[in-house]
C-alpha cells in the first residue's frame, strides 16, 4: 500500500476522463462517503481491478461513475440483484453496492432481505438520508414519523424502518451503522464490511439538507452535521441510557459480525465436489 494522503489519494482513484463537476449539492454527505470508500479500499490494499462498485438509482447511485473501478449504475432498487450475478460469476472480486434508503428499503426492500438471507458475499453501503433526494424530497421508508416531506405535508404518519434491525433480522453476516460526521469510524466499518465474508451492510447516516433539511428545520448542512454529532452515539453508551433517553438517540457501531462463508463460496465448493474434485 503506497502511503498517500488526502487529495493525493482521492485523485488516484477518481476518473480523469469523467466530466466534472459532480452532481452532489455542496454540503451533501454523499461526497464524504465517496472519500471514505476510497480510503477503505486503499487501506485494504485492493487493486482497482478486483473491486466492482454497483450502484442503484438516486443521488447515491451517481457515486459509482466517479471512481476508477469496474462500475455499474443499475436500475432503481435492483443493484443487489446485479451484484449477486457479478459475485456468482466472479467470486474473487470485491463487490460493493451503493444504495439510497429509498433504493434499498422501498423499491429494493425485497432484494435487501434476500441478499442478507442468502448471505451472498457483497458489501452494501446504504446511504440513509431519510428522504428521496434525487426526485425532489418525497418521503422514504426511513423518514421519521412526524417529519415533513413533499409527500407528507401533514407529517409522516407511517412508521419507519430501522435498517440495522431489518438487516440483522434478515441474517446478514455483518451489520454496522456509521455516519458521515464520524468519518474515522466509518472508514473502519467499511473496511471491516468488505473484508468480512458473506453479506455485509453498513448503514451510513448522511444529511440531505436540500430536500430533508429545508422542510425539517435544518436549513444548512452545518445544522445537519450538528444533529448527527449530537444524536448519534456509540452503541455501548446507548445501551446504558434509560428507555426515555434512548428514544432521543441513535446507536452506532457494529451490531452483527459473523464469519459464515458466503453463498458463492459454498456453491463452488459443492460444485467442485460434484465435478469429482476434492
Amino acid at each position: 500500500m503506497v502511503d498517500m494522503k488526502g487529495t493525493q489519494l482521492i485523485h488516484e482513484y477518481l476518473r480523469h476522463n469523467k466530466k466534472f463537476p459532480h452532481v452532489f449539492c455542496a454540503g451533501c454527505g454523499h461526497g464524504i462517503v465517496l472519500g471514505s470508500l476510497i480510503r477503505s479500499i486503499h487501506g485494504l490494499g485492493l487493486s482497482k481491478d478486483e473491486v466492482c462498485v454497483v450502484a442503484g438509482i438516486g443521488c447515491s447511485g451517481r457515486l459509482a461513475a466517479y471512481v476508477d473501478f469496474n462500475t455499474v449504475h443499475t436500475t432503481h432498487g435492483r443493484a443487489l440483484t446485479f451484484a449477486t450475478g457479478i459475485k456468482m460469476a466472479k467470486p474473487n472480486m470485491h463487490v460493493i453496492v451503493v444504495m439510497g434508503d429509498g433504493d434499498s428499503m422501498a423499491i429494493g426492500g425485497n432484494h435487501l432481505i434476500h441478499a442478507a438471507r442468502r448471505n451472498i458475499g457483497v458489501t452494501a453501503l446504504i446511504l440513509n438520508n431519510n428522504i428521496y433526494g434525487m426526485t425532489g424530497g418525497q418521503c422514504s421508508p426511513t423518514t421519521p414519523a412526524g417529519s415533513f416531506s413533499m409527500t407528507t405535508p401533514l407529517g409522516q404518519m407511517e412508521q419507519s424502518f430501522d435498517c440495522v434491525e431489518l438487516c440483522s433480522a434478515a441474517k446478514a453476516n455483518y451489520v454496522a451503522r456509521g455516519t458521515v460526521f464520524h468519518v474515522k469510524k466509518l472508514d473502519k466499518m467499511i473496511m471491516d464490511g468488505i473484508s468480512n465474508p458473506g453479506f455485509g451492510v453498513v448503514e451510513i447516516l448522511t444529511p440531505c439538507h436540500t430536500q430533508y433539511g429545508r422542510k425539517n428545520k435544518y436549513r444548512t448542512p452545518v445544522d445537519m452535521y450538528k444533529m448527527l454529532k449530537k444524536d448519534v452515539i456509540d452503541i455501548d453508551r446507548y445501551e446504558k441510557l434509560s428507555e426515555a433517553d434512548k428514544a432521543k438517540k441513535v446507536p452506532s457501531g457494529v451490531f452483527v459480525q459473523k464469519d459464515d462463508s458466503g453463498l458463492e463460496e459454498k456453491f463452488y465448493q459443492m460444485a467442485a465436489k460434484c465435478q469429482g474434485g476434492a
Binding site: H73, G85, K87, M88
Partner: protein, 383 residues
C-alpha cells in the same frame, strides 16, 4: 490440426424445455438466474442440476423475475454467457431490465414459454400472446431480436442461435416458445461440436487506456471486456457517451440511439431466419411460427393433396420482422394466411409489410387450445 474424431450424433428423447437447456449448454451458457413459473420451470430445474457439473457453471434461484434478470445481466457483464427463462407474468416483471440490457448492450438470452393471459391467465395452456410484448414491452425505442421454435429440435437449435446472436450483436435475445412445444417430448439429435457454430463476444485487444466502451466500430458493435479483466469502465442505463458516462448532448444521444438500431438493422440477412415449404409456386402461403407452424405444415400438405397450391413461410425470427422473405412470397401468392393463438399480434406485422397488396386472412384463437391443421386447411381450401 487434427479434426475432431467424427462421433455418432447422440439422439435423445426430450421435452422442449429440456432441449432449450441442451442448446444453451452447447452454446456455452454457464450462468442461470431466475424464478420458477409454469410452463417454463423445467428449464430452471434442469439447469439447477446441470450447471454445477460444468467447470465455472453457476446457478441461482432469485427472489423474483426482476432479480433473476438483474443477476443475469450482472453475470454477463462479468463475462459469462447467461440466461433466464420465464412465462408471461414473469416476462412482464423483466421489462425494465430488458431495456437496461438493450442500452448497455449486454448479451443475454430470455426464454419466454408463453401461456394464456392477460395476467396469470391460463398457466398450463398454450398461447402466443406475448409477441408484441417481446417487441415493445420495455420503455423507449429500441431494436431487439426475437426468435421462436416450433418443435423440440428447434428448441435446441434456436437456443444456440439465440446465444450466438446475443453475443454477436451484444444484445438481449428473446426466444418465444409456447406451452405445447415446451411440454412435447420428441426424439432430437444433439449435434457434434463440429456441426454447429458457437460465437463468443469480441473482447478488446487494445491497451485499457485506449479502450472506449461504446465507440463505433465497422459492425456497430463495440468489443466487450469482462468486469475484472483490467478494462475498467462505467456501465449505466442512462443514455451515455462513447466513454460510458451519462450525456444529454443531442449529438451524443442521437449517435448512441442510432447505432443501437443500426448494429442490428444492417445485418438483417443474418438475423432474419425463416424456413419455406412449397412456396415456389404457391398461390396461398401460410405465415406461421411456434407450434401453429406444425399444424400449418400438415395443412399445406393436405391442401396440396387436394390440388390447392399452398405453401408455408415458417418464421424462426419474429423480430426484426422478416420483411424480405415476406415480400418475396407476396410477389407470387395472391393470399397470405396468418394463424396465431392471439388476436393478431403477428398478422399486424404481415399487414404492415403487405400494405394492401395481396389478400391477408387471419385465423385467431384465444381459448387455450391449439389451432388444428383442419382449421387451417378449411381456410386454405376456401380462398
Amino acid at each position: 490440426m487434427a479434426r475432431p474424431r467424427k462421433k455418432r450424433n447422440k439422439e435423445i428423447f426430450a421435452l422442449g424445455n429440456e432441449a432449450v437447456v441442451e442448446g444453451a449448454l452447447l452454446a456455452g451458457c454457464t450462468f442461470y438466474g431466475g424464478y420458477p413459473i409454469t410452463p417454463s420451470s423445467e428449464i430452471m430445474e434442469i439447469m439447477a442440476q446441470r450447471l454445477p457439473l460444468i467447470p465455472n457453471g453457476s446457478f441461482i434461484q432469485m427472489e423474483d423475475e426482476i432479480a433473476g434478470l438483474g443477476s443475469v445481466i450482472g453475470a454477463s457483464l462479468a463475462g459469462r454467457k447467461a440466461m433466464t427463462a420465464t412465462s408471461g407474468p414473469g416476462f412482464s416483471l423483466m421489462q425494465e431490465h430488458l431495456g437496461y440490457g438493450c442500452i448497455t448492450e449486454t448479451p443475454l438470452v430470455i426464454v419466454n414459454v408463453m401461456r394464456g393471459g392477460p395476467s396469470t391467465g391460463l398457466p398450463t395452456s398454450p398461447a402466443q400472446g406475448d409477441v408484441q410484448q417481446a417487441r415493445w414491452g420495455t420503455h423507449g425505442d429500441h431494436s431487439i431480436i426475437v426468435l421462436s421454435a416450433s418443435n423440440v429440435q428447434e428448441c435446441l437449435d434456436n437456443t444456440i442461435e439465440a446465444f450466438n446472436l446475443a453475443e454477436k450483436y451484444r444484445t438481449p435475445v428473446i426466444l418465444l416458445i409456447d406451452e405445447i412445444t415446451a411440454h412435447t417430448r420428441e426424439k432430437i439429435i444433439i449435434p457434434n461440436p463440429d456441426e454447429y457454430e458457437v460465437f463468443n463476444r469480441i473482447v478488446p485487444t487494445m491497451p485499457p487506456e485506449w479502450y472506449k466502451p461504446y465507440e463505433e466500430t465497422v459492425r456497430g458493435v463495440p468489443p466487450m471486456p469482462a468486469i475484472g479483466s483490467g478494462y475498467r469502465f462505467h456501465v449505466t442505463g442512462l443514455t451515455h457517451d462513447t466513454n460510458g458516462f451519462p450525456t444529454s448532448r443531442p449529438d451524443e444521444v442521437r449517435e448512441l440511439n442510432e447505432r443501437l438500431f443500426r448494429k442490428i438493422d444492417q445485418f438483417l440477412h443474418d438475423v432474419q431466419l425463416v424456413d419455406e415449404v412449397d412456396t415456389e409456386d404457391a398461390d396461398v402461403v401460410v405465415i406461421a411460427y411456434g407450434t401453429v407452424a406444425r399444424s400449418a405444415e400438415l395443412a399445406v400438405k393436405q391442401a396440396r393433396d387436394l390440388g390447392v397450391k399452398a405453401g408455408l413461410l415458417k418464421l424462426s425470427t419474429l423480430f426484426p420482422y422478416p420483411r424480405k422473405a415476406t415480400e418475396k412470397i407476396m410477389s407470387k401468392a395472391h393470399t397470405l394466411v396468418v394463424p396465431e393463438m392471439n388476436m393478431g399480434q403477428m398478422s399486424r406485422e404481415v399487414k404492415r409489410v403487405n400494405n394492401g397488396q395481396v389478400s391477408v386472412r387471419t385465423i385467431n384463437k384465444v381459448d387455450g387450445q391449439i389451432i388444428t391443421p383442419a382449421e387451417i386447411l378449411k381456410v386454405l381450401t376456401r380462398v
